[in-house]
């Protein structure tokens, strides 16, 4: 998963390390040093213009160095291109670069201290900043009034129905009772598809005939859940593009009728920036509380996964990673950052 992005980030990490290493080589003290400026103590605090005496004190006594922006500019430009080439949205790329710049420029380091550790720490911080905190569905269900109603939306062909089944399987494994509402009454075979899934994972399904009003199906599902004390309602819906006004109105009606606690937008990671743009559009029209990206195992660039939370301001909840019901992983920013920047 995200192997291309991992390779690129590892290369950027090395390049940043080399740039800083160069700045950390003790230079002869000059009035206009380019690579290294001596500093006073208190890491992270910009000092007033260092005096000659301060420089001597810092370099000879404190053995500390400070990195200037000039030396990092090439590495930062390269990092910027790396992120853009991985389909990371422009505003997210800008945020990452700004974080890295702020964190590294003016940073005090003891001579001999690990440069790689500094770079990795900075990059991890920058990525964690944009990735957000994720969304713990188990925790949400535990702390919320039952039944928790989750409405799944998204464009066609991204694996929404399979994702509903996977989430059902996941929640069932966590000990919750689940009912699925077959709200995709539009696509031929969709009801059959979710029915087969439900049967295989042993979850009750509420369905009407093809062509029925999805709001009615999902209303019935919620009624069933309330009367049978079911913990979670998973509401499948037909895929639609945000540009189709009538279908978006239908979704709005579903929202009014079933009053979901969570609206989850589902798209595929391989769509890259398109997924980010579409998620933003869905959020604007019917709202979205969290995002699930499917087919992450086939996505080498990782742009959507990196960008989506920061761009639309909604957390990433799960990543779909295969065909089996348990091929879905709760999104963990720390785990992802570790996978991208770790040494293994």
């Amino acid at each position: 998963m995200f192997s291309g992005l991992r390779e690129r980030l590892q290369a950027a990490r090395a390049k940043l390390g080399i740039s800083i290493e160069a700045t950390m080589t003790p230079q002869p003290l000059q009035e206009t040093p380019s690579a290294v400026q001596s500093v006073v103590q208190n890491p992270g605090v910009f000092s007033e213009k260092p005096t000659f005496a301060n420089k001597i004190k810092t370099l000879i006594i404190d053995r500390e160095l400070i990195v200037s922006e000039k030396e990092l500019s090439d590495a930062l430009s390269e990092l910027e291109i790396t992120l853009l080439e991985s389909d990371v949205a422009l505003q997210v790329t800008d945020a990452i670069i700004a974080h890295v710049r702020t964190d590294l420029v003016g940073r005090h380091r003891k001579i001999g201290e690990s440069v790689d550790g500094l770079v990795v720490g900075t990059l991890k911080g920058a990525l964690l900043d944009v990735l957000g905190k994720g969304f713990d569905l188990t925790e949400y269900v535990r702390n919320h009034q039952r039944p928790v109603k989750i409405l799944f939306t998204g464009v066609n062909g991204t694996g929404k129905t399979t994702t509903v089944a996977k989430i059902g399987f996941f929640l069932k494994k966590q000990g919750f009772t689940v009912v699925i509402g077959a709200g995709d009454t539009h696509r031929a075979g969709a009801i059959e598809q979710i029915e087969v899934h439900a049967e295989r994972i042993g979850i009750k399904i509420i369905q009407h005939q093809q062509g029925a009003d999805p709001s009615a199906v999902l209303f019935d599902t919620v009624q069933y859940a309330s009367s049978h004390k079911i913990d979670v309602v998973l509401a499948d819906t037909a895929g639609r593009f945000h540009t189709k006004a009538n279908l978006m109105n239908q979704l709005e009606k579903i929202r009014r009728v079933m009053k979901p606690d969570l609206i989850v937008y589902v798209d595929e990671a391989v769509a890259g920036n398109d997924a980010v743009v579409r998620a933003a559009e869905f959020d604007k029209t019917v709202g979205a509380d969290a995002v699930i990206l499917t087919k992450a195992d086939m996505d080498s660039r990782g742009g959507a996964a990196i960008s989506i939370a920061h761009t639309i301001g909604k957390p990433l909840m799960f990543l779909g990673t295969g065909q089996a019901y348990d091929d879905i992983m709760p999104f963990s920013p720390n785990q992802m950052v570790e996978d991208l920047l770790g040494d293994t």
Partner: protein, 158 residues
């Protein structure tokens, strides 16, 4: 030993048919995705060929195909300045050589992704074959059971 009619569970056959249909739908989606990737790869290859052709053209004159088999001789003003969409809808200016390198990298990336989609498709097909085999066995058993327990036809008795 139970008879064949008992061994053939009609509900199981129906479920297997559903599974087969479902796998078929998934395979269709992945095949579509593979086609898109392949189109992208071919497009990138064509772009590389065009960029190299432009680079090799001495006076920057190339043939521009405008469809319907018609072409125009055009002079490329700046053959070494290529505007390239590098991702996230960001377009940057690259030299011809760098643009070719970028496209080659992208092709490698697409090939790796295609490989994964093909692997998934293969897995789906193998599961579909498995289900088809079980379905055929089930149908055969059902037919045998029917033949075994059907009343003898007229004229067979002495």
């Amino acid at each position: 030993m139970g008879n064949n009619a008992e061994m053939v569970d009609q509900r199981e056959l129906l479920t297997l048919e559903h599974y087969l249909k479902q796998y078929g739908q998934q395979a269709e989606i992945f095949a579509g995705q593979l086609e898109l990737m392949e189109n992208g790869r071919m497009e990138a290859l064509a772009a590389i060929e065009a960029l190299q052709g432009i680079s090799d053209a001495d006076d920057g004159t190339v043939l521009l195909q405008i469809g319907g088999g018609a072409s125009l001789r055009v002079k490329v003003l700046e053959p070494d300045k290529v505007l390239l969409n590098i991702g996230a809808e960001v377009i940057v200016e690259r030299t011809n050589k760098d643009a070719v390198e970028f496209l080659k990298d992208r092709i490698t990336e697409m090939e790796a992704s295609e490989k994964k989609v093909v692997e998934t498709l293969d897995r789906l097909r193998s599961q579909m074959n498995e289900i088809t085999k079980r379905l055929e066995q089930g149908y055969q058993q059902a037919v045998q059971a029917e033949q075994q327990y059907s009343p003898p036809a007229h004229g067979e008795e002495d």
